[in-house]
């Protein structure tokens, strides 16, 4: 058996005693069993301090054993703030405490706690904001002292992903109500997903005591769990936390590294209730814990949590705790019942028979700390003299204090989608209201605590959910009147101590006086108190502080209990990692059919919209030379560029020409079949948004190309407009169906001649701007005699499945002419030499054609095109800027960069849009926006290239290269 505190079976239903494991905590080897959590294994070995508190560095240990509090947060390598009472142990695990200097047991920073009187709530705001700049001085110190775990920048990347789930009925919570609901819904035929954050189903049935003999829970658990696990309609998701409930029953679930997105027709909330702490001095010491935590230690992990226990009681369940403790061999020192006249429940009756000491109308007013506040060595038992008043009393020796003074519903989830919690003065706990549509609640989350009623209520919720999902159900299950809803919570389990350390919020080390001070400072609303004091803002998000804070604030401000509500509850329910939120990242990328050929040729690829395209071919350290060589190849010999990324759209039907006339600025009605024509598209504001070429293959058939990044936008715009125009035109995006290359250079015709038999490539038969269909290398092809780079050239469009074969054929046929693939960088230089603009680079979202000297592409004779009217307005006004070609003849001048500013005097008038050093022209050339008065040929303007650094540029005509277009039309 591992650990001196380990109990014999059957205690410890979660641990496998045949699988011993060893892990490290604070550098010490710790033994445990498979199924143990870090906290349970440590407790079995009598290690009770797990971490240090956020502000005062107080030793903290297990409070709930349910992962609901911040006391148990420990550090794992690469993972801070891991709940030790949830995290399973494994061989080799290396855990440590958090927020200490030196060692966990002997923290050098513990002195901060001695100063607590000088660190009241709001002291940050009062102490560190003056003089100006003081906060900058203090912040690093404060942040170093306060805090949780540490994020490791060396943490390895994990694999996170997401998954969608669907169900007729989602049941959140695998306790008796949830199990019952799932069974009823599933029996009706519903497809049910049952979610529970624990590794085992059963909820409180696994550890709580519902009868004096302690037999009912086990029997009921076995019955319900077996039925659920064997039901074909129920999908059990254990170890899964439901972290958010969003509109239309969209639940976010987290299990390990995966987030599930569950959409359910109906949701049954059966999340149960959390025990709430009593407030007294030193109520945060290790081994001051919830009664249910002690029961979890015993029943789930087989760990004995103490030897002499005091049970602080305010309900019958506390007596069940006492019975369980006694069964585990723990001496019951006293049961201090806050109630003056306790109800005679079955469990208290059983305890009465034992003859143990029971003190009614009493409380623990102080837990007495052992050495270093690392343990409990006793308690002061005091008589309650009034609301929250308990002084003096009897000192008792004990090493365990269990608190069972009330519950709060785990009702956070529905509050994410409109639900609300309200303090009910009768039951002295929160009640859940305004459940989301198609949401149902059952069990202790709705205030029902009697086991029979809980199971029946679960069945009724499952029945209602199944019926709402459309399933044929029988009669509605009945629920007993006796729900056990009242008498569970004491209305004031708060006993402030003159020396403080009476914690309301363990996460933030907030004491009773802190809350009262916040009210006294004028923050008289619970939301303001929260923000001023930070109550409820720690890792546990107020699960154990909200109820007592509401009580204190309501009392301090004289408000009615009927109005009392906790602060707004927002998702997520528990902390979630960035990895879970990010999940598996999907970033679709598009490759042309020739992509691998580019890689094989040494291309440096670049992202171009959704595409990967070759920037240039060669090593990065010879980039500039590679680009120059590619440019030269096109100017002197022949080059080939992959232009498969260009958009391709088929426009077909009787109204095809009319459609293009409306969409684009030029005229297309009379475009001859077999010819291509430039396209420019404007938006409704008249701004240029795309360009391309249209090829007319038939009176009713145009093939339109678009820019690479604009294809999907153009297609969408076309569909949108034609949905209104209703022209007899079909618009099909065939971008991905065609691979395309641009073959350019003086030797182009010689290369292509080898591969074509059914197309006459001569100038006479196939003049500039003509288009043909035929075959290239036996591949069906569309040939466009166009040239963006200013040389003899053909664009060849072929079915994409044959694109790589076309590339191979061209490279083979061009070998004798030293054919060379060229990339986008060379293309940019080549087209700049021809003065061709790139939409999106030489234009922006506001550029209209007159600014870019492109009014030549506007037909003035047609009645309408998109953006036509706006352009009329633009043209009726004086230009504010104009795109010009410029040259810089200084051979030593640097090449201006895109977006370098152009000036007129001290005024910014425009920017450089493109610039390059042209080997063919022997100088720097570029395009830039300047003031209209600077746009005359020969005018000069300054370009600002840095702080007090300017270049003088001269406006020159475009095209810069081959102004008579002799080379491209040869």
């Amino acid at each position: 058996m591992t650990g001196r505190n380990r109990l014999s079976a059957p205690a410890g239903k979660l641990i496998d005693r045949d699988q011993p494991l060893t892990f490290k905590f604070e550098g010490q080897l710790i033994d445990g069993y498979a199924g143990d959590t870090i906290a349970s294994a440590l407790a079995a070995n009598d290690v009770w301090v797990l971490s240090r508190s956020f502000k005062y560095r107080r030793p903290r240990g297990a409070l709930t054993m349910a992962g609901q509090d911040a006391n148990t947060l420990v550090q794992l390598p690469g993972r801070p703030n891991v709940p030790a009472d949830l995290e399973p142990i494994s061989d080799g695990l290396d855990a440590s405490g958090q927020n200490y200097e030196g060692s966990l047991t002997r923290d050098r920073g513990v002195w901060i706690g001695w100063l607590h009187r000088f660190l009241p709530v709001g002291f940050y705001y009062k102490a560190f904001y003056k003089p100006r700049g003081a906060w900058k001085f203090w912040a690093p110190f404060i942040r170093a002292k306060a805090g949780l775990g540490r994020v490791s920048e060396d943490a390895p990347h994990g694999y996170y992903d997401k998954e969608y789930r669907f169900a007729d009925v989602a049941v959140v919570g695998g306790g008796p109500a949830g199990l019952s609901a799932a069974l009823t819904a599933a029996d009706a035929g519903a497809d049910v997903i049952l979610i529970d954050e624990n590794p085992q189903l059963g909820g409180a049935l696994n550890y709580a005591r519902f009868d004096a003999a302690g037999a009912v829970a086990g029997q009921e658990c076995e019955r319900l769990v077996n039925a659920v696990l064997s039901h074909n309609n129920i999908d059990v998701m254990s170890s899964t936390v439901a972290n958010g409930w969003f509109a239309d029953n969209f639940l976010s679930l987290i299990r390990g590294n995966r987030m599930f997105k569950l959409r359910a027709k109906e949701v049954v909330l059966a999340t149960g209730a959390m025990e709430q702490p009593a407030v007294f001095r030193n109520n945060d010491l290790p081994r001051v814990m919830m009664g249910s935590a002690a029961q979890r230690f015993i029943h789930l992990y087989g760990v004995c949590p103490g030897t002499r226990a005091i049970v602080l009681a305010a309900n019958d369940d506390a007596y069940g705790v006492a019975l369980d403790l006694a069964d585990a061999g723990i001496d019951i020192v006293v049961i201090a019942d806050l109630r003056e006249r306790p109800d005679a429940g079955p469990l208290s009756a059983a305890v009465q028979e034992k003859g143990w000491r029971i003190e009614t109308g009493c409380t623990v007013s102080e837990a007495l700390a052992g050495e270093g506040s690392r343990s409990v060595q006793g308690a002061v038992l005091s008589r309650i003299d009034g609301k929250g008043i308990a002084g003096g009393g009897e000192t008792l020796t004990c090493d365990l204090i269990c608190m069972s003074v009330g519950y709060a519903p785990v009702g956070q989830l529905p509050c994410h989608d409109g639900g609300q919690l309200r303090l009910d003065p009768v039951s002295s706990t929160f009640v859940l209201e305004n459940l989301p549509d198609h949401g149902h609640a059952a069990g202790s989350v709705s205030g029902t605590h009697s086991l029979d009623a809980v199971v029946a209520e679960g069945a009724r919720a499952g029945w209602r959910a199944a019926r709402a999902s459309g399933f044929d159900v029988g009669d509605e299950p009945e629920v007993p009147d006796a729900r056990g809803a009242e008498g569970c919570n004491h209305n004031w389990p708060i006993f402030p101590h003159v020396n403080g350390k009476d914690f309301v919020d363990f996460d933030e080390d907030l004491q009773v006086q802190d809350i009262l001070n916040a009210c006294a400072d004028g923050y008289d609303d619970i939301e303001l108190v929260k923000r001023y004091s930070t109550v409820g803002m720690g890792p546990s998000q107020g699960r154990h502080s909200a109820l007592n804070t509401v009580r204190l604030v309501t009392d301090a401000t004289g408000r009615s209990l009927d109005e009392a509500k906790p602060t707004t509850v927002r998702p997520p329910y528990t902390a979630e990692t960035f990895g879970v939120l990010a999940g598996r990242v999907f970033e679709p990328v598009r490759y042309t059919p020739m992509h691998h050929r580019h890689l094989e040729a040494g291309a440096q690829m670049m992202v171009a919209g959704p595409w990967m395209r070759p920037a240039y071919y060669g090593a990065p350290d010879v980039r500039d030379q590679a680009i120059r060589d590619e440019v030269a190849a096109v100017r002197i010999g022949v080059g080939v560029l992959d232009v498969s990324t260009l958009g391709g759209i088929e426009i077909r039907g009787p109204d095809a020409a009319e459609f293009l006339n409306r969409m684009y600025t030029f005229a297309y009605a009379r475009q001859p079949v077999g010819r291509s024509r430039y396209l420019m598209m404007c938006d409704e504001t008249g701004a240029i948004v795309d360009d391309g070429v249209t090829c007319r293959f038939h009176e009713r058939h145009f093939y339109v190309t678009t820019t690479s990044s604009g294809a999907s936008n153009v297609y969408r715009e076309m569909l949108w407009w034609n949905a209104q125009w209703r022209l007899a035109t079909d618009i099909s995006d065939v971008t991905n169906a065609y691979a395309a290359v641009s073959l350019a250079g003086p030797q182009t015709r010689k290369v292509l001649d080898q591969l074509t038999e059914d197309i006459d490539l001569s100038l006479e038969a196939f003049p500039y701007m003509d288009v043909r269909t035929g075959h290239v290398a036996g591949i069906p092809a569309r040939l466009l005699r166009i040239g963006f780079v200013g040389e003899l050239g053909f664009e060849i469009h072929v079915p994409s499945s044959q694109g790589e074969a076309l590339w191979d054929a061209l490279m083979s046929a061009g070998e004798q002419f030293d054919i060379r693939p060229f990339g986008l960088e060379a293309q940019r230089v080549l087209r700049l030499e021809k003065g061709h603009v790139i939409i999106g680079q030489d234009t922006d979202g506001l550029t209209f054609p007159a600014e870019a000297n492109m009014t030549w592409a506007i037909s003035r004779k047609k009645p309408f095109f998109v953006g036509g009217r706006a352009n009329q307005v633009h043209e009726s006004r004086p230009l504010l800027r104009k795109l010009v070609g410029f040259a810089i003849d200084d051979p030593k001048a640097p090449v201006p960069e895109e977006c370098h500013l152009t000036l007129q005097g001290n005024d910014i008038v425009g920017r450089v849009t493109s610039a390059a050093r042209s080997e063919a022209l022997g100088r720097i050339i570029g395009l830039a926006y300047v003031a209209p008065s600077q746009a005359e040929t020969g005018a000069t303007f300054p370009i600002k290239i840095g702080t007090n650094r300017f270049l003088e540029a001269t406006v020159v005509p475009v095209p810069f290269y081959d102004p008579d277009n002799m080379r491209q039309e040869m």
């Binding site: 969608y164 691998h596 991905n736």
Partner: protein
Amino acid sequence: MTSVTLNPADFTRRSPVYRELRDAGARFVESFGGAIAEDFMESAEAEAKSAAGLALADLSLLPHFGFKGRETVDWLRSQGVDVGDQDNVAYRQEDGVLAAKLAPREVLLIADIVGRSDLCARLADSASIEEEVEAFPVPRGDGYFWFLVLGESAPAMFAKICGVDLRSSSFGELEIAQTSVARMNVVIVRCDLGETPAYHVLGDVASASYLWACLLDAMEEFDGRLIGHGAIRHLAGL
């Protein structure tokens, strides 16, 4: 079973994922104008057996062809194609071809699983711009990759990358989902092979390699594997 294989790059038509298939050990045979993965050096029976869990195959070189236009459905019916009125349903033809009705004016024809039918080719030839019929061919055979995902675990695998419920209880035989998988648009057509659930996945051929990798990644959890056309024929009882 022979170990002789062909080089897909020796053919003019090439699958967008032929490198992935080759690197995974595919044995290629000539078919549909290119080289298709016949098997992965296992018998068709063995591969088919493994497909019961989860498997992926590339059918991109098999005929698939689209038609669009306001007269598409009437024209296809006039050509003898059985197309119903309901959208997002695939209509199975007598020769096994599926006429997937994507929209009132759009139909995607996908070949029978072994590509024996000549319907796609015949219709592609018949549809001429000269006919003045507003039923226009769309070269989906080149624009769309075509993958086949098979096996009982297919819906669970899809659940990791697709927001549509593709479980048998929600997504029946011959239903179509035009949706997003791993953030890219695809058409999913369910058409089981015998007792084996089968999902045809068609989408942008330019992102074929991307989605192929995503599918393999998602399949790993379920021990999914690649299978060849031999296994598919076996599953289809052919």
